[in-house]
């Protein structure tokens, strides 16, 4: 584990991604302290306060209801992050389970599960999500569940291939040879070695979930009782921000989404580079160590 953090510290893109995510997290946690106004507070709207330009009072301007965009933005991070974390948790649990079972047992089970995965994979996510959310009540819970149960296919395939490669290793054969039950082997020998990759994958799935949530909200299928970044975009778009030239109503949530998705992607890829030895080989530090043990390696292969 210590090695892992050391490797991460050397991965500049991963560190940048981690910082980006942590900053967003801090902003969401301390929203009440950071936001100049409370978005839930009722305010009296005057004509001047609708789509007011950025000013000292409202650094990011105001929206169609005369509310402070900066405050909405800060509180909106909470919704986006909540959806991202919980939806990706659902995805990774489903995908991980399917991937592990499929890779470990192989044969007919594998065939069945992978065909099912392929079917889910080819159905376009967003239209199906739109239909599902529209059929159920568009609450935050429903959005999380819908995004979660549509986003697991990538995880399933990744975990399956990793499971297959771990399964082929000799210590698994050795465990079989001492008479260990298949489920015991799965739990004690395969899962712990697949887990790091699953965690790395989770970070990438979070970014997908956030994007999906934004898209749903933008299409008007967000939870009306909460205000996510996607919804801010939706309101600005449908309520005349464009025609009145109020770019500030779009800029902050748009950049927020890009920022968070980029942060997750960088960190997730950083994790995968560290965990996946094939991508790791370009790492200078590692190649030096190999050079030092050159003759070791060379004999070990003989």
């Amino acid at each position: 584990m210590r090695d892992f953090w050391q490797a991460l510290r050397r991965n500049r893109m991963g560190v940048i991604g981690l910082i980006m995510i942590v900053l967003t997290l801090l902003m969401a946690i301390f929203a009440p302290l950071l936001a100049p106004y409370n978005p839930k507070e009722r305010i009296r709207v005057t004509l001047d306060s609708i789509y007011a330009k950025p000013s000292l009072e409202h650094p990011f301007g105001t929206d169609d209801a005369g509310k402070d965009v900066l405050s909405n933005f800060i509180y909106g991070a909470r919704v986006s992050l909540t959806v991202g974390f919980f939806a990706s948790f659902i995805s990774v649990v489903i995908g991980g389970t399917i991937g592990l079972i499929s890779g470990f047992f192989g044969g007919k089970i594998d065939n069945l599960l992978m065909r099912f995965t392929d079917i889910v994979l080819v159905i376009p996510d967003l239209p199906l999500a739109v239909v599902l959310v529209a059929l159920t009540k568009p609450s935050l819970m429903n959005i999380i569940i819908v995004i979660g149960i549509l986003g697991w296919t990538g995880t399933a395939r990744l975990v399956r291939s990793q499971t297959i490669s771990v399964k082929e290793r000799k210590f698994v054969l050795r465990a079989k040879a001492i008479g260990a039950h298949p489920l015991y082997i799965l739990r004690n020998h395969i899962f712990p070695l697949v887990l790091p990759l699953m965690i790395a994958n989770t970070v990438l799935v979070i970014s997908l979930a956030i994007l999906n949530e934004s898209a749903l909200a933008f299409l008007g299928l967000g939870d009306p009782s909460t205000l996510s970044w996607g919804q801010m975009l939706n309101f600005a778009f449908t309520r005349g921000a464009m025609s009145s030239g109020a770019w500030w109503a779009l800029l902050a949530p748009g950049l927020g989404i890009v920022w968070l998705v980029l942060g997750c992607t960088l960190l997730g890829q950083g994790f995968q580079q560290i965990l996946n030895p094939r991508l790791e080989s370009h790492h200078l530090q590692k190649s030096e160590m190999i050079a030092l043990e050159g003759s070791h390696v060379q004999q070990a292969t003989g």
Partner: protein, 323 residues
Amino acid sequence: MSNKQQANLLEVRGLTVDYLTEKAKARALENVSFKVAQGSILGIVGESGCGKTTLMLALLRLLPQAGRIVAGEVLFNGRDLLRLSENDMRSLRWQDLAIIFQGAMNALNPVKTVEDQITEVLLRQNPNKTSAAKRVDELLEMVGIGRNRKGQYPHQFSGGMRQRAMIAMALACNPKLVIADEPTTALDVMVQAQILELLLQLRAELDLTILLVTHDLGVVAEVCDTALVMYGGVIAEHAPIDAIFNAPSHPYTQALLGAFPDHTKPKTQLLSIPGYPPKLDALPPGCRFAPRCSQVIDICQLKTPSLIKVSDGFASCHLLETL
């Protein structure tokens, strides 16, 4: 003088190599000196981490980035290879010095036919395509690959055939010196015998000088004329193989022979060497073999022994100095 230079195709003097890592400097080779006579086969033997691969790479100036040659001379036909420009060295590498790597599968390009790969080497030296094509046929015949198989890809070859293709490639430009790094390690004994026989036959036909890097003492005894036994980055013993195998001077050579299986002596006890080979970043003070040596005396832990002349060759051991 000129007479002597003809006798020794390669002379290495005081070669010292360091590996630099973030934290420390590891000495991979220390003060390695030896001569190789024209037309002879020198076996370089030792266990993991003894520096035999580093030595081979240093001679070719192909050390990995972290490796540095900090001292020494490598005289090839009287020219110091370490002073050549990178360009001169590169052209020398295929023309005069050739390499046969261990894993032929990794050393060959998987997406090119064997014929194309050998042609590529030839064209680099001489851009005449018809003469190159003729030479490819000649080379393949020399190493025993049927003409009908030259258009095939490496994965269609067996391990032995791939190693033959590697040898053909190495011989493409009529090198004088061939450095073979564990050329038979991954092969079955029967295929190993075929390849070793091929090397011996080529040596006789082409008057090749061969450096054979291996961990297998049996292979050394079968094909080499002299042997260099390495331990922890230094030469333990360098002598003609009769001396190495029948009257070894260095305690490490003696111990290694006791540990090596020999099917002509069934049911005899194999003798192990206690402990483990030293790691390059944690070398013991004094003689590097001292911690595992059964004949260790006080001075061994204090002072590094130097390579001295013994009856038929050279060895670095304090016991031999006091005699």
